[in-house]
């Protein structure tokens, strides 16, 4: 109770409340603009949050992260254009409902399911927080090394059809993180005699290049699509309770969101895929899916909105980010010398609880804002691509230049911007390179710390937790290989 009151005290300051409101509303608007998306917005906001208190900065970023998918549902349902990448599945049933004159109902389902998924995951986290607080301190260097390695393996496995590319990019990210002065023998690695590389390749610069500048370049090189005229939905709030009549879809999808969110490297797409497939297969009307099934919308939106809160678990408990957005948040912790991990749960549990309470408030603020402003947000969704590209490029400047006022950083970010553009155009995943940089650094540090304490490599896996994680890694790789071979045999026999 004392911890709860202390965490409540943390979030009842004006600065946190303002960050909550700006983050939530900003996230909805950003999510509703197709082609922008929360990774870009968070990347740009990141340097600005370094001057804030950790709780304020993280609340602002969490606000954008937790609310963007709500906003992304609006163009997905009304225009058949997903606002964020994870709203793509919502178009599948949302747009057919709009075409049959049920746009307002579809949006109600989106908002209701998103709210349910968001709150469900936070409640799960709060319920399991005492367990996490007990388990987290059992993680030493070897366990964290194994957990980071598991994250890397899952990043590769989870990118279906892009496993080899993801593996390459994860390793490339590890390589980037290894450039510069290493601390064990104080020698330089891969600097090619360039002094600016001695301090290494800055993670934020790469993030801003890959997520923000690449998006600006992508928008600027795209064509402006004709404006889609949409009828503004009326009475969205009146049908909000309909989700309550679909408890099976809501609970199953949110549970998938929580589970997949906790596992590093997996994320929304897999959660959506599993929940949608299961809800469809167990539905009384599976033929409606893809043609305007309300349960399909609930499956998609509840699953993706349950992920953000769950994704905070590996970050807070172990200091291991599971995807790009939590990787960006990790840098906010580092800037303020707050080290997420087992000690955070022991010494600053009120801080962890404060973040959970913020996540609940973000969902409440977002829902209220959407109920009064959906008509306005529909207009925002129609900003032309190249116009958006110009505005985005001016915003990118702040994010990169404000870091160190360095022209080199800007040039490096621009190079990664072009690489990110190629990724986008070729439909290649961008997350592995970032996770490689973050997890690679964690793995190297923990590997060196562990090596000083062990006599043989076997000691990496002879403890209960590290051994269990190692077993999960082996099972995950073998299962993946089994299905890859099975898929390859099937495609050979069918000649596809």
């Amino acid at each position: 109770m004392e911890t709860f009151l202390s965490s409540l005290d943390m979030i009842t300051s004006w600065s946190v409340l303002i960050a909550l409101i700006i983050g939530s509303i900003g996230g909805v608007i950003i999510g509703a603009i197709p082609g922008v998306g929360p990774p870009m917005a968070i990347a740009i906001l990141l340097p600005a949050t370094f001057a804030m208190e950790p709780i304020v900065g993280l609340t602002l970023l969490l606000g954008v992260y937790g609310s963007a998918m709500y906003g992304g549902a609006i163009p997905a349902v009304l225009m058949n254009v997903p606002g964020t990448a994870v709203n793509a599945l919502t178009t599948y049933d949302g747009y057919p409902m709009t075409r049959s004159g049920q746009g307002a109902r579809a949006l109600s389902l989106c908002y209701g399911a998103s709210f349910f998924g968001g709150i469900f995951s936070v409640v799960c986290l709060m319920a399991f927080a005492p367990v996490l607080a007990d388990v987290a301190p059992l993680f030493g260097s070897r366990e964290i090394f194994m957990a980071a390695l598991l994250g890397g393996v899952l990043v590769v496995i989870a990118h279906r059809g892009h496993g080899l590319f993801s593996g390459f990019m994860f390793c490339f990210g590890m390589f980037l993180a290894s450039i510069g002065l290493e601390t064990s023998e104080l020698t330089q690695r891969y600097t090619f005699g360039m002094t600016w590389l001695s301090s290494g390749v800055d993670l934020i610069v790469v993030i801003l290049g890959i997520f923000a500048l690449s998006q600006a370049f992508h928008l600027l090189t795209a064509d402006d699509e004709d404006t889609i005229e949409v009828e503004k939905p009326v009475g969205v709030g009146k049908r909000l309770g309909e989700v309550a009549r679909m408890p099976r879809a809501s609970i199953i999808s949110s549970t998938f969101g929580v589970i997949m969110g906790v596992i590093p490297g997996v994320g929304q797409f897999i959660a959506q895929f599993f929940s949608y497939t299961i809800i469809q297969k167990t539905s009384k009307n599976p033929e409606q899916f893809g043609a305007g099934a309300p349960e399909g919308i609930v499956a998609s939106e509840a699953a993706n909105n349950a992920v953000p809160a769950a994704a905070m678990i590996p970050l807070l408990a172990l200091g291991i980010p599971g995807e790009a957005l939590t990787a960006m948040m990790l840098s906010v912790f580092y800037v303020h010398n707050v080290v997420p991990g087992p000690n955070l749960f022991l010494s600053e549990f009120d801080f962890v609880m404060a973040l959970y309470l913020c996540l609940i408030l973000i969902n409440v603020i977002t829902l209220i804002f959407l109920l009064v402003s959906t008509g306005f947000i529909v207009n925002v969704s129609s900003i032309p691509n190249r116009y958006l590209g110009v505005l985005t490029l001016t915003l990118c400047f702040i994010g990169i230049y404000a870091l160190r006022n360095s022209v080199t950083d800007c040039l490096l970010a621009a190079v990664f911007g072009v690489i990110g553009l190629v990724f986008k155009r070729l439909d290649l995943p961008t997350i592995p390179i970032i996770l490689g940089m973050v997890l690679g650094e964690i793995m190297e540090t923990k590997f060196r710390t562990s090596m000083a304490r062990i006599d043989h490599y076997y000691e990496f896996i002879n403890r209960p937790i590290s051994g269990t994680i190692f077993a999960i890694i082996v099972i995950a790789i073998l299962t993946h290989l089994f299905f890859q071979i099975k898929y390859w045999r099937q495609s050979r026999s069918t000649g596809v």
Partner: protein, 187 residues
């Protein structure tokens, strides 16, 4: 009217990645980069005599590059196979041209970066967004007006309110002292 209203989204389409033959160019570049980095290992890291590989300062770079080669080589092979199976509907030179076109916007961005220390954040941003809007083909007054409002609001929030670290322009030195301080602090 765009064709969005007629487009039927298939579930598989949402989860199975697409392939473009231009990926071959990218894959070759990645493997060449990996081989180059591997060849530079001894020159770019210090090797301590008598110490096992895991204890070498460059061990983590070595692990990363070996990983790049282990994933990159079969990746290149799969891309070659996919490119062979592709019916050649998508144009590789056209796709490569799109990558090159983006370089123009890199130059615009770098020009903006170089301009800020001279003209200051406010003038550079307005000049940059107006000129770039004109370049990408907007001519209606409303577009420029909204961009101007966006620039002013953005500068007020980031520089004035959030106090992000962007230095004043050299041009501000020519302003009267009171106005100069105000401009350095807020614009």
């Amino acid at each position: 009217m765009s064709d969005n209203s007629e487009r039927k989204v298939e579930l598989a389409e949402l989860f199975i990645p697409k392939f473009h033959p231009a990926e071959l160019v990218f894959a070759i570049a990645l493997v060449v980069l990996s081989v180059f980095l591997f060849s530079q290992f001894e020159a770019q890291t210090r090797v301590i005599e008598g110490k096992e590989l895991a204890g070498q300062p460059g061990f983590w770079s070595w692990i990363s590059i070996v990983g790049m080669l282990l994933f990159g080589t079969p990746y290149l092979v799969t891309v070659i196979l996919k490119a062979r199976a592709d019916n050649g509907r998508a144009s590789v030179p056209q796709e490569l041209l799109q990558w090159v076109v983006a370089v123009e916007y890199v130059l615009w961005f770098m020009a903006y970066v170089m301009l800020v220390p001279w003209l200051g954040y406010l003038l550079s941003t307005i000049a940059f967004s107006i000129l770039l809007l004109f370049r990408v083909g907007y001519s209606k007054r409303n577009f420029f007006l909204w961009a101007l409002i966006f620039d002013l609001v953005m500068i007020a929030i980031f520089k004035g309110f959030l106090r992000v670290n962007i230095p004043g322009g050299a041009i501000y030195e020519y302003l009267p002292p009171a106005l100069r301080n105000f401009m350095i602090s807020n614009f």
